[in-house]
Amino acid sequence: MNLTDREKKMMDGAFGAGPQTAMRLLVTLGEVYEAKRMIPVSSCHVGGRSFLISGEESIEWMTELYEGGARFQVFTSTNPCSVDFDRWKEMGLPEDLVRKQSRTDACYMRMGAVPLGSCLPYQTGNLPLPGTHFSWGGSAGATFSNSVLAARGNREGMPSVIAAAIAGVTPEYGLHLKENRYGQVLVDLSGLDHSSLRLSDYSAIGSYVGRTLVSKNPVIVGLPKVFSQDQIRFLISAMPTAGAISLCHLVGITPEAPTAEAALGGKPPEDRISVGFEEMKSSFRKLTTTPKEDVDMVTFGCPHCSIPQIREIASLLEGKRVSPNTRLWLATSGHLRNLAQRMGYVEIIERAGGLVLADLCVAPGAPFHLVQGVKTVAINSARGAYFIPGACNVDVIFGDTKDCVQAAIDGKWRGPR
């Protein structure tokens, strides 16, 4: 790789052992990907913040970096984690986990991370601008930044984001380069009756596209004229789970995709698929892991709930009561929870027996297996349903928001599967 003088000095330890470790890691990755040079990043977002994912080892590593003089040079926010620091007792979590999460967080914050605790950091303070380069962990956020904001970045592993935040640069490969950003496969959604589709359905479509295209950049045509941010998020967040997609062109929405031709860079697509009702339904069947009726936990918030979603769930729960055998958790950021509280939604949901939680991840880093009696979790997102069984060793039912809320009230799953 061609390194600048500053990068070479950092590599040689002139700025301390911490920045040296960071630069060495970035150069290693750059060489694996045959990057020619480093490029400056203007936004970082650390994933894998859950102690349940990163463990004691991440604390050891970050302590060594900090003591070696490493500090974040780039605006860096954090993904959600394994606990809500104010509500963990009501959640039934062990105090030990809260302490461990708090030690992990301290490592991030003393290097300068802003604890947004959100997988939608672009809603509350970390908004990458078009054409700029970012280094984000958390594949849902990275996919949104590429696909909707037209900022450029790869789906990163955990230490590489920390290294980029310290060094201020990242190797130029993959989606940082325009030639790798063109669409490859045309995905036609015009055969679907969009007026009847719910958020969970878009998530099911995204999961199907991820399974089918694996790592090719999709070009989605046939979307309705008005398509909300929640609909976009549910559609694209499931793509990097079964597959490794981190950029999806939504024709008419993605700035790089005013037309399908522009998204494809003037070339013919490598392939074309169309997604219909059956393909969509297949995701619900594929992701649900149990035929059992009893539901111990219903959760929303993968990715984190937006205000419109919290409003919808509050309206479904108003005047109702969650079954004594079932827990209902909504996960969002501290910022959005405050807003939802001012708007009265938190009171409605919590009066019904649910919890609106801040900072918590309800999928890859979730603590469901540590809550007594939780064996089956129902969720309205294909992304969440993909991660939960492996991460928490519990069964999952993937269904629609309304059916999930009803399951919380009945304590039993009566919706389709």
Partner: protein, 139 residues
């Protein structure tokens, strides 16, 4: 009998030891116990094998992006392999080798999974991209 393979450096340094070879991808998070230095993934071809001080040869990584932290921890606890050879490195193994300072080479001129067998003695000079394999007696 000695065989010389040429490849590319991912993480520099020199290492030597007995080879542990598997044709299956490896996830360090969940798949390797960092205290015992042992592959523990259920049903994995290398399940139960100790990789501490060995040259660990496998196609590439898989699984969680937290894998690098496990390799780092193994280095700290002195349970890490002394070196690694991949068919093709990917970011998780590369990052782990970098932060754990474990020499790693990949893209050899012959398939290391075919040429190297568990028990062979292997020397790596990662900076030069050279792998020297001494076949086990009677093999």
């Amino acid at each position: 009998m000695k065989i010389i393979l040429k490849g590319r450096k991912v993480v520099g340094g020199t290492a030597e030891g007995e080879a542990v070879v598997t044709k299956e991808p490896v996830s360090f998070l969940g798949g390797v116990n960092p205290d015992k230095g042992m592959v523990v993934e259920r049903g994995h071809e290398a399940e139960g094998r100790v990789i501490t001080g060995k040259i660990f040869v496998f196609p590439h990584g898989k699984g969680s992006t937290a894998g690098p932290y496990i390799m780092y921890a193994m280095s700290k606890r002195k349970t890490a392999p002394s070196g690694m050879i991949n068919v093709q490195a990917e970011p998780i193994i590369a990052a782990g080798a970098a932060i754990g300072n474990i020499p790693l080479v990949h893209r050899l001129d012959q398939n290391p999974l075919e040429v190297i067998r568990t028990g062979d003695f292997v020397r790596i000079d990662a900076d030069k991209g050279i792998v020297e394999v001494t076949k086990k007696e009677g093999d």
